[in-house]
């Protein structure tokens, strides 16, 4: 999924309440937050949450492509290119039915987007300090 809000909330497979991204347990019922191939957000039976129908592919794996594009535009850091490579792998593996591979590539894409942002911020701060000390 290309144009998507990447932080689509994950829902607990047991009780259906929202789970904060990165959390390992459901805050509502305490069940382990699982992302198994059999668990398809939006299609798992008996969830009963208020989310609308899932458009497009039945399995949602964010590819973070828009963040990767934004990283190549704003952060001036070539690591955004790496994020685009992983974004392409997410959709390629989803198309091939490799859910776990897509999930792994999705996480890598996300990581490289954060690396881009981090490097961009660090570079700007270091450059600012160098510029300031140079001015003094």
């Amino acid at each position: 999924m290309a144009y998507d809000y990447d932080d689509d909330p994950i829902h607990c497979a047991t009780c259906g309440s929202e789970i904060e991204p990165g959390a390992r347990f459901c805050a509502n019922c305490g069940a382990a937050a699982q992302t198994s191939p059999s668990f398809t957000p939006g299609y798992a039976p008996g969830m009963g949450y208020e989310g609308g129908p899932d458009y497009g592919e039945p399995v949602h794996v964010p590819n973070h492509l828009v963040w990767a594009i934004a990283a190549t535009l704003c952060c001036c850091v070539p690591t955004g290119i790496v994020a685009i490579v992983y974004a392409a792998q997410v959709n390629g593996k989803l198309a091939a039915g490799d859910y776990n591979g897509a999930l792994s590539a999705s996480n890598s894409a996300k990581t490289w987007c954060w690396v881009s942002l981090g490097l961009g911020v660090v570079a700007a701060v270091v450059w600012g300090i160098v510029g300031l000390t140079g001015a003094i």
């Binding site: 144009y3 904060e20 497009g56 828009v66 594009i69 685009i84 270091v126």
Partner: protein, 150 residues
Amino acid sequence: MSTITTIAANRLELLPGLPLWRWRFALLGLAALPCLALVFARNPEEPGYYPPCVFYALTGLHCPGCGTLRGLHQLMHGNLLAAFGYNPYTMLALPIIGYAYLSALLPSLSGRRLPTVFLHPALIWGLLAAVLSFWALRNVPVYPFTVLAP
């Protein structure tokens, strides 16, 4: 992260019924407004208002994003051709970023979501090739390629 802090973080809501991630997007949307106002009011060609690009300062090369701010400034003042002249990649990416931005913002405000678009993987590989070519060609200091430089 321990289970207890995870649960505590999940319980943290600014207003009952609006989860944290919705507030995050709403705040992100509000934060973009002053930035856009600055880009509209101050031309990045004038020195002193924006930090310099570290990549350009270190390498002397134009990265694929070079000219984005100057292009956005021109776009906000209605000069579409000048905007494309600074960075065509940015201008073509803007509708995509705008759609993603709305997709992220609308659910946090209204609870409705925009349809997701599944891109064929070949399209993304094509985008990658285009960005890499654009990066290389805009640094070739010979005429037709100098058009691509900001």
